[in-house]
């Protein structure tokens, strides 16, 4: 791995990282404050009349007036939030598998084969991201629900999310595959291996970092989506977690920001867990170079 930064003292790197951590964490601490306040209000600073500097300093520190886990309890007890999380997990996991599968195969073809339509195909994947999605809700509804009869079905969502994630994943993987030396495959070809075998046995194991990134991306695409999930699902037991979260706010009714914050924290946990799991691929010593050497 890179040695180039060895001459920068770690102290300065830590200083920068700690600063970034503070910036990153501060708004999230406010989310936590709302979640653990036991109240429903979105937080603003609370100042006494004619505040002193000290009052202001105290006011900008995110901390609830009293700590309570009531919001978390209510989120799970007053609606089937656990079920919704499970649905989300199912859809997101399936999207990840499907998205990564479709993207690795396509990415591999774009990287390794020279065939007519290759550039056009790649550009069409890129271009597909450029058309704004504001007007596509009704056409997508027609395709999924009326044509494919996948209303209120996990598969409908999985298909939608996979295709949303594919273009980025294909490009990402194609770029990574390009960096893997061809000599490895050529020697395998000599040994009589088919393209499919080379792909599964040689290329994929070498591409773990890129697959990890695309897996995380596919997962996130499915995990946070809200409008399609809501439009397609016609049973409460089929809703996903982001749909469930939106129950707490919006419209002319009381705004349950406490529940929303608590639910958001809970929804972030699986993402963190997935990242913890995937990050060993992001920093693994198993690089193309290592194998090559």
């Amino acid at each position: 791995m890179s040695n180039r930064n060895d001459s920068v003292p770690h102290f300065w790197l830590h200083l920068f990282l700690v600063f970034m951590v503070l910036v990153t964490v501060y708004p999230i601490l406010w989310v936590l404050t709302v979640a653990f306040s036991g109240q429903q209000a979105l937080m603003f600073v609370d100042l006494p009349p004619d505040p002193s500097v000290l009052d202001r300093v105290r006011a900008v520190v995110p901390w609830p007036a009293q700590v309570s886990v009531q919001n978390f309890v209510d989120v799970f007890s007053q609606q089937p939030f656990g079920r919704w999380l499970l649905n989300s997990a199912l859809v997101a996991a399936a999207t990840t598998v499907m998205g990564v599968f479709l993207a690795t195969t396509a990415g591999y073809a774009f990287s390794r084969f020279r065939f007519p339509g290759r550039r056009a195909g790649m550009m069409s994947f890129l271009i597909s991201q450029m058309f704004p999605g504001t007007l596509t809700l009704v056409p997508l509804y027609i395709i999924i629900v009326q044509w494919l009869h996948l209303g209120s079905n996990y598969l409908g969502l999985i298909l939608l999310y996979s295709t949303t994630a594919i273009p980025f994943c294909v490009w990402m993987l194609k770029g990574y595959f390009d960096t893997i030396p061809r000599e490895l495959e050529e020697s395998a070809l000599m040994d009589g291996a088919s393209p499919a075998v080379i792909f599964w046995k040689i290329i994929l194991p070498l591409s773990k970092p890129a697959v990890a990134v695309t897996a995380l991306f596919s997962f996130m695409t499915a995990w946070n989506e809200f409008i399609l999930a809501l439009t397609i699902m016609d049973q409460e037991s089929m809703y996903t977690a982001p749909v469930g979260l939106r129950f707490f706010v919006g419209g002319f009714a009381e705004q349950q920001w406490g529940y929303f914050a608590a639910g958001s924290i809970v929804a972030a946990l699986p993402v963190m867990a997935l990242f913890l799991f995937l990050q060993r691929f992001l920093i693994s010593g198993l690089t193309a170079g290592a194998v090559k050497g």
Binding site: L42, F44, D46, P49, G151, E236, F248, G251, A253, Q256
Partner: protein, 405 residues
Amino acid sequence: MTKPVFWLATLAVAVVLVPTVAMAEIELVVWHAYRGKEKAAFESVVEVFNQDHVDDVRVKTLAVPYDAYADKITAAVPRGKGPDVFIFAQDRLGGWVEAGRTMEPIDFYLYEEITDDFIPSTLEAMQYQGNTYGLPMNFKVVTMIYNTDMVASPPQTSTELIEVAKLHTNEAGGKFGLAYSYSDFYYHSALMNAFGGGVFQGSRDPVLNSFENVQSLELMMQWFDVDKVMPAEPSSSLITMLFNQGDAAIVFSGPWFLSEISESIPYALATLPTVDEAGGAPMQPWMTVEGAYIAAPSQNKDHAFDFVLYLTGPAAGKTMALEGRQTPANLRVYDDPEVAGDVQLSAFRAQVEHAVPMPNFAEMTMVWSPATTAMNSIVRKASSPQAALDQAQKDVEERVKSLRK
């Protein structure tokens, strides 16, 4: 019990149960966007209906988060994939009628015995181009909510209001006598209507820059900028926080606000004051009315109407009023002593006498953006009320024209 006997018994029970289940042949699907207490009350009301109709109808509810509820209806209902009945505020009604295959007209079912039971303005909100498309369930209207520790008796006039508000304002300390989303056009409607202003007239021609509208905005700016009794950037979360910390004495808000008030704050409700500057006319907020509509592609319209009638009737209304804390549109609900004795419900009931149903035609949605822009630039003092409204009027006229092209 030995095993075979147990299985036989199970079989017997199943044989007995199956026919009763099979008899409830008609299933009505109902969509709504209720949550919390409102949802619980709504579901219990539906449960009662199901109990009464064990033999013929079974109503199934689906709660949909408000933020994309309208989109879901727009996508699903015209394609016959939607519910039999859905509940929504009147603001999208006109648009859905124009779009077609969404709203079922129900005038055929209506007779005076039915319509006389409803507060007239709420029923009016359900009508578009001379046809009625739903029955009103609940209305939501802004009223005056005040902290009884700070304000002993509610102000009756705008002059009194500002006097009281000034007593409780300390800008440096973040304390304000009056807090409401004054820069939000929806909340401003109360003042606008007091002056006799409005957004459309006649054949739905926009009249945003009318003299009355300008006057109403000048008064609002007087309160905000000269009397300085209101906070800046008044988002609804901010107002909730101020009131809950005892930093706002009087708030103009609707029923949704009440459940956000913390237990430590003693409060009461009163009708919005009259406006001395408008010749003593009362403030008249825009009212939203939640209607129960039958979906045009429904296969069970007659049953759906019976359900709508039940839902908007006195029994269901009472449950939703007392348990869901909603304000029913059915007058007969208020004959009930328990409802009549409820100070909050009576306060909203009193306010509705001075309320105007928000326009339900599609052109209304074109007003919000230009009006919000105007409101913000007025509050920011970037332009005068007249200039800002002139611009808004121009924008809305242009939009209406291109829709009707």
